[in-house]
Every structure is written in C-alpha cells, then in structure tokens.
C-alpha cells in the first residue's frame, strides 16, 4: 500500500493538471483582490457615504479576513470542485485511456488497494488545494487589505442570522478548521468522480458527468421551486463546512452533516471498489 501511495503521489506531482489547479486558484485570488479592493474603495468613500447614512461597511469591515471569507465561499461552491473532479475523475479512467490500467492490475496488488490509494492521493490533493487557497488569501489579505476582526452580518453570504464577530486570532483558527471541513465536504465530489472513473472508459466523460451532477444539484438546490427536494441533495449536506466560520459553531448540526457526507464518501467508495473488482479490463 505504501509503495502504491508513493507511486500515485509521484504521478500526481508529475501531472500538469496538479499545477494548473494551483495556478487557476491563484488567478482567482487576484481577480477577487481586484474586485474586493475596488468595491471597498467605492463603498467607503465618496458618494457611497452620502447615499446611506449607516453602513457596516466601514473601513474596518474590509480586512484580510473578510476578504478570505468571501473568496473562500465563492471559490468553494464553483471553482474548487472542478479541480477535485478533474483529479478524481482521471484516476482509473485516465489509466485505462493511457493503456496502463491492465498492466497495473496484473501486478500482485489488490484492486481495492489500488482504488483506495488513488483516493488517498485525491484527498491529499484536495486538502492541499484548500490549504493553499486559504493561506494565499490570508497572505494577500494581510498584505493588500489589512488585518482586523472577522465581522459577520445576516444576508450577505447567508452565514449568520444575527450580526456577529470573531476575533482575529480565533478567526485564523476557524480558517484552519475550514481547510479540514472543506476538504471533507469536497471528498463527496471526489468519491462520485472516483465511481464514475471506474464506470466510464474515458476520463473526460467521468469528469464531465461528475460536474454535471454536482452543478445540477447545486443550481437546482438554489431555486425555490425545488425547496422540498433540497434536503435530499448531497450539495445541501456539503454546506456544513461553513459552520466553522460562524461565531458559535452549531456542533450537533455540524456533526450530522459531516457524517452524512462521510456516509456518501464511504458508500460511493465501497461501490466503486465492488464494481472495479468485477470489471473486465480489456484495454
């Protein structure tokens, strides 16, 4: 298993998509900085102050922690899952496409170990993406926006239902927790992609199908027509990761959704393993 993990890790480090994911996230942070900076300038100076007498958008509101929070929430929903699906979707189907799967499977390693070692590598990649993204945002936020407490208000981001504040040091710890909770939530997407990677011959089909399922449920879950269906979508359960960024973490709810995501991860992986073990590899 250790050898398998080492080999898979080497493959990941040598793939261009691995570095592309970090480059794309860096580009997103730059775009966020541009948008956030210009928005903050517009909202805290000039006519903005005259238009409305009262605002929480004071200069102290726009700080590096607020910047990181906004950036993370936006990217988590639509950007990071793409890279997770790309990595996971290409694991088995990619080997098949490259003609190396048959050769790997004739070696004296169990197919279960192969799938699991590939999934562990996907999990490592996912964590690295989350940790890198949070760290980069905090660094850029510190350098270009400045430090302060994390202020939260109802409405924007739909995170809290009453105004709240997390002190700076505590907020940094919360972002650290978010790197783990976010990774756990994203592993649901990774497990779906892994299963589809086993089922399909082509990695593009596996990745596209994963993204289609994710985006369909994500979008449908945000349309009021489907409000009664929303609790049954895994995308709804995945939202638990943000609970660590609330002033008071709702632990029972957090554990409930985290374990629901866990059930998805283990269930889908088990299914992937069972299917892969019975699969006739002809290419």
């Amino acid at each position: 298993m250790t050898t398998l993990l080492r080999l898979e890790l080497l493959k990941l480090l040598r793939s261009r998509s691995f570095y592309l994911s970090f480059a794309a996230l860096s580009g997103f942070v730059l775009l966020m900085l541009w948008g956030f900076y210009s928005y903050a300038q517009r909202k805290t100076s000039g006519l903005a102050g005259e238009q409305f007498k009262y605002t929480y958008e004071s200069k102290s509101y726009f700080n590096g922690l607020t910047f990181t929070l906004y950036s993370l929430v936006f990217a988590f929903s639509l950007l990071i899952p793409i890279f997770v699906a790309m990595t996971a979707g290409g694991q088995i189907a990619g080997e098949r496409r490259a003609g190396t799967l048959r050769m790997i499977c004739v070696r004296p390693v169990s197919r279960v170990s192969l799938v699991l070692s590939k999934f562990v590598i996907v999990a490592i990649h996912t964590y690295l993406l989350m940790a890198f993204f949070i760290a980069l945002n905090l660094l850029v936020g510190l350098l270009f926006v400045g430090w302060g407490d994390l202020q939260l208000y109802p409405g924007a981001l739909n995170l809290v239902d009453e105004p709240g504040r997390i002190l700076r040091d505590d907020a940094l710890w919360r972002f650290f927790y978010a790197s783990f909770s976010g990774t756990w939530a994203l592993l649901v997407v990774a497990a779906i992609a892994m299963l589809l990677s086993v089922l399909f011959e082509n990695p593009v089909t596996a990745v596209a199908s994963t993204l289609a399922i994710y985006l369909m449920l994500y979008i449908v879950g945000r349309i009021e027509f489907f409000v009664t269906l929303r609790p049954f979508f895994f995308t709804t359960d995945m939202d638990f990761w943000r609970d660590v960024l609330k002033p008071e973490i709702p632990w029972p709810s957090f554990y409930h959704y985290a374990t629901t995501c866990g059930a998805y991860i283990f269930g889908l992986l088990l299914l992937a393993v069972v299917v892969f073990e019975r699969k006739d590899i002809t290419s």
Partner: protein, 275 residues
C-alpha cells in the same frame, strides 16, 4: 477483504451517527422563562393581499374577521399595514367595539398606509416622516405605573432593498430621538431578505442593503420574533417586532399561522414581553 470491510463499517458508522444527531439545533427563546411583572402584548400584521391580486391593499370585507382575531388575542397595541386609509381604520375600530384607539400614517407617494391601534384612551399618535414613506406611531401607557411605550408601525418597500434600508434607518433614528424613559418598539413588514435558508444569491447589492438595514436595527433593538418562524405564506420571515435589547424579557413570540383571511399573504406576529 479487510479494506472492503473497513469501507462498509465506515459507511454504517457515518450513517448511524448522522441519524443519531439532529440536523439543527433548537434555539430557546431569549429569556423565555416565566417572569413576574407587568406584561405587554404587541401584534404586527400586514393585512394586505398577495401579489397576484389586482389591488393588494386590505379588504374592508375582511375587517370583521381581522377584528375577531385581534380581540381573541387581546394585544395591548397592534401595528397594521396596507390599509387603504383612515376610513378603513374607522371601520376596523368599530368592529373592535371601540376597545382600541388608532391612527394611520400619511400616504406619502404610496396608495396604502400603516396603522397603529392601542387600548389606552389617552394615547397620542404621530406621523413618522421617512423620506417619501410614512410610518404611524403611538405613545401610550399600558398601565399607569409603567413608563410610556412607543410603538411604530412600519411598512418598508417591497421592491427595492436600498429604499428599505433608507426607510429602516429613518425609523430607527426617529425612535432613538424619543425622550429618555420611553420604551420603544418598532413593528411591521420590512420585507428583509436576511434568512440563512435563502442561499439563492451568494452576494448581491440587494442582499447587502437588507443585511445592513437589519444590522442597523439590531444595533439598537432586539428582534423579538426571531424564533417564531416564517410570517408569510411563501415561507419568508418578513414581519418583525423589534424591542429594547435589555430592559424587557421576552415571554412569548408566536406567528398565528392559519389566521390569514381571504388571500392575505401574511400571518400576524404576536409578541408578549415582561417589562
């Protein structure tokens, strides 16, 4: 085989824990414990109709039923919204067997008014000017040993969050400008979209305006009906009773579901506090 067993065990364990732990935490009402002291009961109700009607203002034909609900709940003061004018209020007061006195706000540029009703015969009423919109206010003594109470009945714009924000700020400022010693409440339909269940938009100017307006209200007041749930038939909590943050204890906050008459799209919000 071992890995498969581990995956299976993990799946069952996760499922079991998810079932055992509830998805949400029940919040208890702030200071909900029974307390001695004089009680004050306030009601807020938008008695207008839903958007599908050609005229969404309150119907005079509904007033006997509205009066019955008010009388059966016996609030000390009521904030009503979307009345057609003073004549409709007069009719309602008659249906209330003249147990209440009331006043309506000016029309401004709107075709409907807010009204405030109180039991106290010596109450006096104010028209709260907030730019192009108006709110109605009553100052009264629920009990001669108690300080004066001010209740503002407000109805914010349904279509523009920036107008809601300006309106909310003006109403708060008017209330804060009242003499010290008075206890102020703001009740009404603010049309805020600040619920955490509404995740349709990650970030919009509309959401931000509502967020700021609500935050400004909470800077000086407490949202007394926060745990009472949705107040309109389309699952939105848009009717509020805001009260002092510290000087009162909340005893009960309830949305009287099922009491909407005709095609009304709001339910009354009833709040009972200990002064």
């Amino acid at each position: 085989m071992l890995f498969k067993l581990l995956l299976g065990a993990g799946f069952v364990f996760m499922l079991a824990v998810a079932f055992l732990l509830g998805p949400s935490r029940q919040r208890s009402l702030l200071g909900a414990r029974s307390q001695e002291g004089p009680h004050l009961k306030l009601m807020s109700w938008n008695i207008g109709y839903g958007d599908l009607e050609s005229d969404t203002r309150a119907r005079s034909a509904d007033l006997p039923a509205v009066a019955e609900i008010i009388l059966s709940n016996d609030p000390d003061a009521v904030a009503l919204q979307e009345l057609t004018g003073a004549d409709q209020l007069k009719l309602l007061l008659a249906h209330l067997k003249n147990r209440y006195r009331g006043s309506v706000s000016s029309f401004g540029r709107a075709d409907r008014v807010a009204a405030v009703l109180v039991k106290d015969r010596r109450a006096h009423f104010d028209d709260v000017v907030t730019g192009e919109r108006f709110a109605a206010a009553a100052t009264f003594h629920p009990n001669k040993d108690l300080p004066e109470i001010v209740l503002v009945s407000a109805h914010a714009d349904a279509f523009s969050a920036s107008r809601r924000r300006t309106f909310a700020a003006d109403v708060v400022d008017w209330t804060r400008g009242r003499p010290k010693g008075e206890i102020a409440f703001i009740a009404g339909d603010f049309n805020f979209e600040v619920s955490i269940r509404n995740k349709t938009n990650l970030f919009t100017d509309e959401a931000k305006h509502d967020s700021e307006a609500y935050a400004y209200l909470l800077k000086y007041f407490r949202d007394l009906g926060r745990d009472a749930g949705e107040t309109s038939i389309n699952d939105r909590r848009i009717d509020y009773v805001f009260g002092p943050a510290e000087t009162v204890t909340l005893r009960r906050a309830e949305v009287l579901r099922g009491t909407a008459i005709g095609r009304m799209d709001h339910w009354p919000l009833l709040v009972e506090i200990v002064l």
